[in-house]
């Protein structure tokens, strides 16, 4: 065996609905009319929320927040493929999908406006809150998947989202390796939007694709057009089925693009060209999905008008609700350091409350 080949691998790319609205019939997941409309509406709502968040932030009514424009297919189609029994373990750029999972829009607005209260979701069920530490949640996903396997919850798998930048983190590596060794039901979705703040994808890693990173762990990786809602649905659905059947993890690389700034504090023109951004606007997933619905005669201008109006109302109501501070209690955090009260913390709470009038004055001044 002087110099012999011992292993061979390949990486494939999936696209079902291309940027011209052309559908690959053989791969068509044949969404029901209801699902197809639901998916489009979720994508449209995600887009709408994004624009409102930016506007609110510019008006000083919102904290620094990330944008999701461009990611709608990559995150909403997987959410459609998931059931309530599946776990959603995301990062910070999936607003549309989180709303599909039952998160409250008003609460999400509160979260980004710097209130812990915003993390209280009406029925958190199996949707974890936003995480800000890049990559960390991917390990949590694998631990949850272990619990599902351990409990024989064969109707449940875990879908976890992270960015192209996150693939550099040790935690993401450790997570994929643990998942493979344990053969647990988890789907890794890398939302490869070509940038990690100002770091372009090619300088994040030298691999030709992100999908091929799965080879390092011995499971399948697939590259998907992340702006293709049907492709993302199909890939996630297949991976989820495999996971639930005991086939272990899959890595899906969703090739997409962050069309706006990293967060409202970022100015992308510092590091990327308008031409590049323009090219990607042509591949925008939201109109692509709309054209698909129109092709199936499920959508038209009237529906669009109605949807716009519904979204506007929904957003106005959510903003109003989010801006209520009825439940505001300054010392809330002292309640939740531990599951039971601690004397030292209670003493500190008294100090805190005694100092509050002066602190509130400073706050008004400083804010």
């Amino acid at each position: 065996m002087p110099l012999k080949e011992v292993a061979k691998f390949s990486v494939s790319q999936l696209q079902v609905l291309d940027e011209h609205g052309q559908l690959d019939e053989k791969l068509d997941p044949r969404l029901s009319a209801a699902d197809a409309v639901r998916l489009y509406e979720a994508m449209a709502l995600g887009r709408e929320v994004d624009q409102r968040l930016v506007r609110l932030q510019r008006q000083g009514r919102m904290g620094t927040c990330p944008t999701c424009t461009g990611h709608e297919a990559a995150v909403c189609a997987p959410a459609l493929a998931m059931t309530e029994r599946d776990w959603f373990v995301g990062y910070y750029r999936e607003i549309g999908a989180r709303l599909m999972r039952g998160d409250s829009l008003a609460q999400s607005l509160r979260y980004w406006h710097g209130y812990e209260e915003g993390n209280l979701q009406p029925q958190p069920g199996r949707t974890l809150p936003v995480t800000a530490i890049v990559g960390a949640q991917v390990l949590h996903a694998v631990g949850i998947a272990y619990a599902m396997k351990y409990r024989r919850e064969t109707d449940s798998a875990v879908v976890t989202f992270f960015g192209d930048g996150a693939t550099s983190q040790g935690d993401v590596h450790e997570a994929m390796n643990f998942a493979a060794v344990w053969q647990v039901p988890v789907v890794f979705i890398c939302v490869n939007n070509q940038w990690a703040i100002s770091q372009p994808r090619e300088q994040q890693t030298r691999s030709e694709t992100i999908a091929q990173k799965a080879i390092a762990y011995g499971f399948e990786g697939l590259q998907v057009d992340g702006n293709d809602p049907l492709g993302m649905y199909l890939a996630t659905d297949r991976a989820l089925r495999r996971a639930r059947e005991g086939g272990g993890p899959t890595l899906i690389e969703a090739l997409t693009y962050r069309l706006l700034m990293h967060t409202t504090a970022d100015d992308p023109r510092r590091y990327r060209s308008d031409a590049e951004v323009e090219r990607w606007w042509k591949r925008d997933p939201v109109p692509r999905m709309r054209r698909y619905l129109e092709g199936r005669a499920l959508w038209g201008e009237a529906q669009q008008q109605a949807l716009q109006e519904r979204m506007r109302q929904q957003l106005d109501a959510a903003v109003a609700e989010a801006e209520l501070r009825e439940d505001w209690r300054p010392d809330l955090l002292f309640d939740h350091v531990f599951g039971a009260p601690d004397p030292e913390l209670e003493a500190q709470r008294q100090t805190f409350l005694a100092a509050l009038p002066a602190a509130t004055a400073v706050d008004a001044h400083g804010a």
Binding site: W87, V89, E116, E117, N119, L120, Q121, P124, L128, P129, T131, I133, A136, L139, H140, A141, V142, G143, I144, A145, Y146, A147, M148, Y150, G170, D171, E174, A175, N177, F178, V181, W182, L332, L333, D335, H336, V337, F338, G339, A340, D342, P343, E344, L345
Partner: protein, 327 residues
């Protein structure tokens, strides 16, 4: 009569009984399964409970902590082992950023009831990175509990309590005590109380505060002081570094007016410093002499040839007590 167990056996008993009681308790770590742990703490458990509940993980500490967090979020009761405490800092990001915060940031909607066990401390002639005492680094993260037993019986009771605790508990096991002595440990489950110090010996001349392996020389010093000098120290075993039971310590110091704190850890930014600060806050005016801290030094933990020279010992404790009484 209850059987006499070493601390290793007592910890093993707690693990076994908690696993029998609750099938959501799972163990994970490096070499804890087939090999039964490098100190044999998990002896027999892989055989009894199988590879699914006693999980040999890949070699990655952040992975161990991070997946344990996920398990806990999903309702399991993971008891993870870090092979030596010196390696826990590879998982510190997960502890600080996630285990410690989930309850607080979600106002109790999500919680992380995990236990992270780890042998720690010097005194067993181990290789570098295997002898640190960094309890303060962990206890300094709000949201983490840190518990240190000082003998077989307290180890068993506190570990059982840690496993049933609703919050993340770091359970630090002094390697020096693993087989240092045997103690009667009742077969029926005992539950320690996290957040409570233990007054091991009462006395009115001085309050002697310690924890973990340093309880050994502290006990010997207390005996010797009583025998040779008629000095009656009140000996307190801290047990719970966070939350700290300051009340018990302060009550004692307010009576005795004098205090010596003995710790293996380096001197600065330590639990001993924190206890002095609490004394300052609340019982300074009852203090008749400066608190004496008998501690490790602010150097990189020495290799094993020098470790005993750097660790507090009976003589240093007795000298510090003498100083506190003379001041």
């Amino acid at each position: 009569m209850a059987p006499k167990l070493t601390m290793v056996e007592a910890i093993n008993l707690a693990l076994r009984q908690e696993m029998e009681r609750d099938d959501q308790v799972v163990l994970l770590g490096e070499d804890i399964g087939v090999n039964e742990g490098v100190f044999r703490v998990t002896a027999g458990l892989h055989k009894t409970f199988g590879a699914e509940r006693v999980i040999d993980t890949p070699l990655a500490e952040s992975g161990i902590v991070g997946t344990a967090i996920g398990m806990a979020l999903a309702g399991l009761r993971p008891v993870a082992e870090i092979q030596f405490a010196g390696f826990v800092f590879l998982g510190f990001g997960q502890l600080e950023g996630h285990a410690a915060r989930y309850r607080s940031r979600t106002l109790g909607q999500w919680t992380v009831p995990l236990v992270l066990r780890m042998p720690y401390g010097a005194g067993v002639r181990a290789h570098e990175h295997h002898s640190e005492s960094r309890e303060a680094t962990l206890a300094g993260v709000p949201g983490l509990k840190v518990v240190i037993p000082s003998g077989p019986r307290s180890a068993r009771a506190l570990l059982a309590a840690a496993i049933r605790d609703p919050d993340p508990v770091i359970f630090m096991e002094p390697t020096q005590l693993y087989r240092a002595f045997r103690e009667e440990v009742p077969e029926e489950p005992e539950l320690g109380v996290i957040g409570r110090a233990h007054v091991e010996r009462t006395g009115s001349d001085l309050t002697l505060v310690s924890w973990g392996a340093m309880m050994l020389p502290s006990r010997r010093a207390a005996d010797a002081l009583a025998r040779d000098q008629g000095v009656q120290v009140e000996l307190i075993d801290v047990q719970s570094v966070a939350p700290l039971d300051a009340a018990t310590i302060l009550e004692s110091v307010s009576r005795t007016g004098r205090c010596v704190i003995v710790q293996e850890a380096a001197r600065s930014f330590s639990l001993a410093s924190e206890i002095v600060a609490r004394i300052n806050d609340q019982v300074l005016l009852q203090l008749e002499a400066p608190v004496q801290r008998v501690t490790g030094y602010d150097v990189v933990t020495p290799f094993f040839q020098r470790e005993r020279l750097y660790m507090p010992n009976e003589a240093r404790i007795i000298a510090a007590v003498g100083q506190a009484l003379a001041d």
